[in-house]
């Protein structure tokens, strides 16, 4: 892990100051990160796609495998429109678009989450696997089913949060604009 954190926040992303960010993390525009969310980029950089919501006590971790070192080409890429609900822990190797990780769920290392998946509240996914598109895991027996259409985007919620969060929290300033070659805002 590099000694210094390098956190890039694109414009229009709302990242609260009380978040726990470590390593090399890029927030694309439109992301909303609530206070006391944790994002740890130990093994390599994390790139979070547009319009993701990361709620309180959610943990996204890119953990080092034993014996490995920081590798800047080992990127954990998280797609767009994902929702990480309160208290979830996600250590997946790859995350696509429009997924929902419900409260207190756990997705272990080695799991590849494609798109439109829902990991239900309290579900623990520990074995390495590829979740096919539109998989929904629910209930105390962790039953799986396939949804017909993808989960609806959370545009209303994001707009609301973008309005409300700055009223009550200190924000990290966007520090990177892809349109300008010199990253000064």
């Amino acid at each position: 892990m590099p000694t210094e954190n390098s956190i890039k926040i694109m414009p229009k992303a709302v990242v609260c100051e009380e978040t726990n960010l470590r390593g090399d993390i890029i927030f694309s525009s439109g992301c909303v990160v609530h206070p006391s969310a944790t994002i740890v980029a130990e093994a390599g950089p994390i790139i979070i796609g547009e319009n993701c919501i990361i709620e309180e006590y959610a943990t996204i971790a890119h953990r080092l495998i034993e014996g490995a070192n920081w590798d800047s080409s080992n990127i954990l890429s998280i797609g767009t429109h994902n929702v990480f609900e309160v208290g979830c822990t996600v250590e997946a190797t790859k995350i696509g678009d429009k997924n929902v990780f419900e409260s207190k769920s756990y997705v272990g290392p080695g799991v590849t989450v494609t798109s439109g998946c829902v990991v239900g509240a309290g579900i623990q996914m520990r074995t390495a696997q590829v979740m096919p598109e539109n998989t929904i895991v629910y209930g105390k027996d962790a039953l799986q089913r396939e949804a017909i259409d993808k989960q609806g985007s959370q545009t209303l919620q994001i707009d609301f949060l973008r309005k409300v969060l700055p009223n009550y929290h200190h924000l990290r300033k966007p520090n990177y604009d892809p349109k300008k070659p010199r990253s000064v805002v």
Partner: protein, 518 residues
């Protein structure tokens, strides 16, 4: 209240089943303990647990005990909730009509067309049902969105619906015919005694004669013949399995689980594409009735939103509650030990309590006699009361299963030392709960076995010896009789109106724990 689970202190119900006190009822009229097995359960009202709507029993039967508005998820049996979406409707006069035709039960959009023919986008609320647990939606199985949130959801008709209906009709008519036949038979067997035989006898006219004279047809209904149905035929020819069943890999996500099939009993689909929202089953409010004296023990308030009772005779409101506190020494077989129990008086009257190791002889005789008598009373009650006669079949069956006096002696494996004297437990007084000082009673000399006392609560020390034969890790069960005075405010006899004091007995069992290693 004991927080230990399972509750170690159990009371023997009058039918001989052991129960913790919070599962027991107390009939003030008998006066005896009753449990769920020895009372009559009656349906007080039907209601939907989701929308809390009260549904009369006739309507409930008509709707097959299902709520008209609420649905269960066919996927996870959770309740479905209606979600609204706004759909943009382009209001061109001709196009709007097309939209209307597509969306089926549209409603309001078609009627409002005074807008300009230009394509002004207007929004319209459409509803679909969605499960908050497994995210199943009605869109998954292609049920079109509805313009109204409740009431318009289509019932899924299954393949056998017609057959079901015709069978239902047939058996209803069979029942009707049998009933008519029976009535006819009874009428012929015992000629009906007329109320005023003298009147018709004098004139020589009977009702049927008059009817025939004035040209009406016979009063008796024409016999209804059951409509004929074609019986189902067994066939040995079974369709061959489709060939692709051997070649295509099985997608388990497309196959329904057993629970999903059973929750949709009408067609029991094997593919998830055939899951349809199921109407939610109704719940009932129950009233309980003592079978011996036919008084209500529990009668809930009628309204579904109310959780209160009109009549509540819970045992914990009338019988002193015994809670196990601790054993003084580790449990060893054959070694004298003592257990501390807490007894609480829940009533508004002082109680005199004695702890006995056996029932006094005359009392024992009395109870067996009472039991036999009770059996007789009940037999009579069943045949005499018209209300119960209506439900006679079920009641007599319940009775016959019940009246076996269960012997619970063998459960106890300890010798208990009965307390040398009785003691008084004062009435419940909620304000005393907050008193800090110990009241004046402590000045009076307390019997030795009383460890502590405050208000209506007392801690007792009971000495006992586990049987010498019991082995390590055997469960030690104490058994004793508690005699307590109970002030009964209901008058059993009509002439006496003031409350009577009765000495009642309860048999208690305490599971003290397992015998420990040496």
């Amino acid at each position: 209240m004991s927080f230990m689970q399972p509750i170690p202190v159990k009371y023997a119900c009058s039918c001989g089943i052991l129960n913790p006190i919070n599962k027991l009822f107390f009939c003030r009229h008998c006066p005896k303990l009753r449990c769920g097995y020895c009372v009559c359960h009656e349906i007080e009202s039907h209601f939907c647990s989701n929308c809390l709507e009260n549904i009369p029993s006739s309507e409930a039967r008509h709707k097959k005990n299902c709520c008209a508005n609420c649905f269960d998820c066919p996927c996870c049996q959770h309740t479905l909730s209606a979600r609204a979406t706004t759909v943009a409707v382009v209001r061109k006069p001709d196009e709007a009509k097309d939209k209307e035709a597509q969306s089926g039960a549209g409603g309001e959009s078609g009627s409002t067309t005074p807008l300009k023919p230009s394509s002004v986008p207007a929004t319209k609320k459409m509803y679909y049902l969605s499960c908050l647990s497994c995210r199943w939606t009605t869109r998954d199985v292609g049920i079109p969105d509805q313009g109204v949130a409740t009431g318009t959801w289509p019932d899924n008709e299954c393949l056998y619906q017609l057959r079901f209906n015709s069978l239902l009709e047939y058996y209803q008519s069979v029942v009707l015919q049998e009933k008519q036949d029976r009535q006819e038979f009874l009428r012929r067997k015992s000629p009906k005694q007329h109320k005023f035989p003298s009147l018709t006898d004098r004139t020589g006219l009977t009702v049927s004669l008059i009817r025939r004279q004035i040209g009406w047809n016979e009063k008796t209904l024409p016999k209804s013949k059951p409509i004929s149905i074609s019986p189902t035929e067994a066939t040995a020819d079974v369709e061959q399995l489709p060939p692709d069943i051997f070649t295509e890999p099985l997608n388990l996500r497309q196959v329904t689980t057993i629970a999903q099939r059973l929750s949709q009993p009408r067609d029991q689909p094997t593919a998830v594409g055939n899951l349809y929202p199921q109407r939610r089953s109704l719940w009932i409010k129950r009233s309980l009735r003592c079978r011996q004296c036919e008084h209500n023990l529990i009668k809930p308030e009628f309204h579904p939103t109310s959780i209160k009772y009109r009549i509540q005779l819970f045992a914990s409101h009338h019988v002193p509650e015994v809670v196990m506190v601790r054993c003084e020494q580790p449990l060893k077989s054959g070694q004298k030990n003592a257990i501390v129990v807490k007894i609480t008086n829940p009533t508004m009257y002082d109680m005199t309590i004695r702890i006995l190791d056996a029932l006094p002889e005359e009392e024992e005789q009395l109870t067996t006699e009472m039991l036999q008598q009770a059996c007789k009373i009940k037999e009579e009650a069943v045949t005499s009361s018209p209300l119960l006669r209506a439900a006679g079949i079920t009641l007599t069956r319940q009775n016959s299963t019940r009246e076996i006096k269960r012997e619970v002696n063998e459960l106890s494996n300890t010798l208990i030392e009965p307390l040398e004297s009785e003691f008084v437990l004062s009435q419940r007084d909620d304000s005393k709960e907050f008193d800090e000082d110990i009241q004046a009673r402590s000045e009076i000399e307390e019997p030795k076995f009383i460890v502590w006392r405050k208000g209506n609560k007392v801690l007792l020390r009971l000495q006992f010896t586990p049987e010498a034969t019991s082995k390590i890790s055997d469960e030690v069960v104490l058994s004793f009789y508690m005699q307590y005075t109970y002030v009964n405010t209901v008058a059993n006899t009509t002439e006496k109106k003031e409350p009577t004091t009765q000495a009642l007995y309860s048999r208690l069992f305490i599971q003290a724990g397992a015998i420990e290693k040496e």
